[in-house]
């Protein structure tokens, strides 16, 4: 988005100018979702260490899912660690930091924050946020059918968030200031098709929102650049692209004999049968239904590698509309390592652009489309820095913390 599509004007011209066009294309975590990517960013580690594998995870030894939050992060985020170096951080709207807890500085939690009261540290700023009308998130439900209202909410949330950030910028004595924009993600999920289609009903509104984001962010960057010794980093936790087709993994597994339900009336994972050998969790995680690990596990240790190979073969060959759907199938140990490996899925899928993977446990077909028009991409996030020479040749989101520490001379 910094550079813009070939032959088209940038959506973020101010940022592009600020960094003189020297933004790097960055790869992010797999799965390429905010909970995992931002946790990787803030700890400089991968899920095998920090323990966040998705927005949902399994309760060990069961088929129940739970929703990991900031309390589940097993590695200290940089803003806690920096306290040991006498540095204070102001962190605004960073996903995967709810509920807020004490940090050396200020933390306003981002997605999936629930109550504002539990999203702010120190609590003395709560009244300031309330008075400003701060929203922890917009109602994404409006993105489907009430788009005009949705766009208005996005503008309003950004404006208020900027006001709050401006106050904290002035009031707080900080070493690191981080402002996270989430509205662009919300917008692209529902209106990615409006981005380059000049005839689209919301084309102008789409670009107008990006320009507002651009002005907001550049304002911070220019103020930062005016401070002696201050460096600037900008990044996204994933890229974005248009959706060609959604692929529902559990129906694919079912059709190919890996997944079956105990009885038709028990829906979802709790209804999995004792004959099922694999199942999927959103968005792209595959689990071998192992004996000893799951209550009705069907796969003995001796058969584990064979089942993994079969799954790999299935998805490597899987096609949608005559084209390859899966770019690569990973065994967990190819991506992750560390103390939290016990909770890792057995395989992970990286899709081709345009193929939006979902668990789709309750879907009765393998593919489809929906009201979503944009999807995350793992390979086209961006990273930009006021000292571009410090950016690695092929940067990943796991490198950003190290880069930040170099800028801070730590």
């Amino acid at each position: 988005m910094l550079a813009g599509a070939p032959g088209r004007p940038s959506l973020l011209p101010g940022m592009k100018g600020f960094f003189s066009g020297r933004a790097a294309r960055m790869t992010v975590s797999i799965p390429e979702i905010s909970a995992v990517s931002w946790s990787s960013f803030m700890t400089g580690t991968q899920p095998g260490e920090h323990g966040i594998y998705g927005f949902v995870d399994l309760v060990p030894g069961s088929y129940q899912v739970r929703f990991p939050d900031f309390r589940d992060l097993k590695v200290e985020p940089f803003f806690i660690e920096l306290g040991a170096h006498g540095k204070r951080s102001v962190i605004i709207n960073l996903p995967a930091t709810y509920p807020a807890r004490p940090i050396p500085g200020v933390l306003v939690s981002g997605f999936v924050a629930l109550e504002l009261e539990r999203s702010v540290f120190p609590p003395r700023y709560l009244s300031m946020l309330k008075q400003a009308g701060y929203q922890v998130d917009v109602d994404a439900g409006k993105g489907r059918e009430r788009k005009v209202e949705f766009l208005a909410d996005l503008h309003c949330a950004l404006k208020v968030r900027k006001q709050v950030a401006d106050r904290l910028w002035e009031r707080e004595d900080w070493d690191v200031f981080m402002f996270t924009v989430t509205g662009t993600d919300r917008l692209q999920h529902f209106l990615h098709d409006a981005c380059f289609d000049g005839q689209h009903e919301f084309h102008d509104e789409f670009r107008a929102f990006f320009h507002e984001v651009d002005e907001t962010v550049v304002d911070f960057m220019q103020r930062a650049a005016a401070r002696p010794g201050m460096e600037v980093l900008a990044l996204s936790d994933h890229g974005f692209g248009p959706i060609r087709s959604e692929v529902y993994l559990n129906p694919v597994l079912k059709k190919n004999g890996f997944f079956s339900s105990e009885t038709p009336d028990v829906k979802g994972l709790p209804g999995i049968s004792g004959r099922a050998t694999a199942f999927a969790l959103d968005p792209s995680r595959l689990y071998v239904h192992r004996k000893g690990k799951f209550p009705r596990g069907a796969v003995a240790d001796a058969d584990y590698e064979r089942v993994r190979r079969d799954l790999k073969d299935l998805f490597r060959a899987y096609e949608v509309g005559g084209g390859k759907a899966i770019r690569r199938v990973y065994y967990a140990e190819e991506l992750y390592s560390g103390a939290q490996m016990a909770a890792a899925p057995d395989l992970l899928l990286l899709s081709e652009p345009g193929i939006d993977l979902k668990g789709g446990m309750e879907k009765d077909r393998e593919t489809g489309t929906s009201h979503f028009t944009g999807m995350h991409r793992q390979d086209n996030a961006f990273l930009a820095c006021s000292r571009p020479e410090l950016i690695a040749a092929s940067p990943t989101i796991f490198d950003v913390k190290g880069l930040m520490y170099r800028l801070l001379a730590i």
């Binding site: 927005f55 739970r66 806690i80 306290g83 004490p102 997605f111 994404a140 668990g359």
Partner: protein, 242 residues
């Protein structure tokens, strides 16, 4: 923490200094900044030259009261053990200090004489010491002290518990069970680490450490059912779960 002067008044050898020192030691164990003022010390450094006439005694207490007011204003818990036999001057310094807790250490004259290892009572009774409180000079009992300790009937531990309880009741100390004593061997290491942290003081640093522990190990780590439903709904709206 709010400062306060805990003023121990009573006959000579009634046990004021013993209790004041016990209180001070307990406060230090709790990490609370305390200062001890005692008649022997202040007469040497603050009120040298003053005698034991009523005027001189009042002047001595006035000077001590002034020092107490400064320390109290700066957040210290001051333990002051003085016979301070006259009600007027005690009331005067109460007004000067503000945060003032008067502890009347009540003890029978016989018991005080029995405890008097220096033999001062004996000398006073023999007329060798003039203006000796309880013998040749009056002790004006406090009319409304915050606390009366009957040191000839209570153990020192009981008395200390009563004093701490009163300070908690009056809001000068955290409630019982809420204050945590950090052993010295840990405190020393934490204090050494403090300069590398961005916390203004040791309590804030300790709170930070505890909050991290609680965040990671709390039995309430999972969301409530209604919170889970809310998260599920938010994730569904964005297509993050199907």
């Amino acid at each position: 923490m709010k400062g306060v002067t805990v003023w121990f008044t009573g006959l000579p050898c009634s046990g004021k200094t013993t209790l004041a020192l016990k209180l001070s030691a307990e406060l230090k164990k709790r990490g609370i900044h305390s200062e001890d003022l005692d008649g022997d010390v202040t007469r040497k450094y603050l009120s040298k030259g003053l005698g034991f006439s009523k005027e001189d005694r009042d002047e001595n207490i006035r000077r001590v009261g002034f020092v107490c007011s400064l320390l109290t204003r700066h957040g210290a818990v001051v333990t002051a053990a003085f016979v301070s036999p006259y009600r007027n001057i005690r009331d005067e310094i109460r007004g000067m200090i503000g945060d003032f807790v008067e502890v009347y250490v009540k003890c029978s004259l016989e018991k005080c004489i029995e405890r008097d290892v220096k033999g001062m009572y004996k000398k006073a009774i023999a007329g060798e010491i003039k203006n000796f409180t309880g013998v040749s000079d009056p002790f004006e009992e406090p009319l409304q002290p915050e606390l009366v300790i009957e040191s000839d009937r209570e153990s020192e531990e009981e008395s200390l518990r009563k004093i701490l309880g009163k300070l908690e009741e009056l809001g000068y100390l955290g409630q019982a069970g809420k204050d945590i004593v950090i052993p010295d061997y840990l405190r020393q290491d934490l204090v050494k680490m403090l300069p590398g942290q961005n916390f203004p003081d040791l309590p804030t640093f300790v709170i930070h450490i505890l909050s991290q522990y609680v965040a990671r190990n709390s039995g309430q780590a999972d969301l409530s059912q209604s919170e889970e439903d809310e998260v599920r709904e938010k994730l569904k709206k964005l297509g993050y779960i199907s």
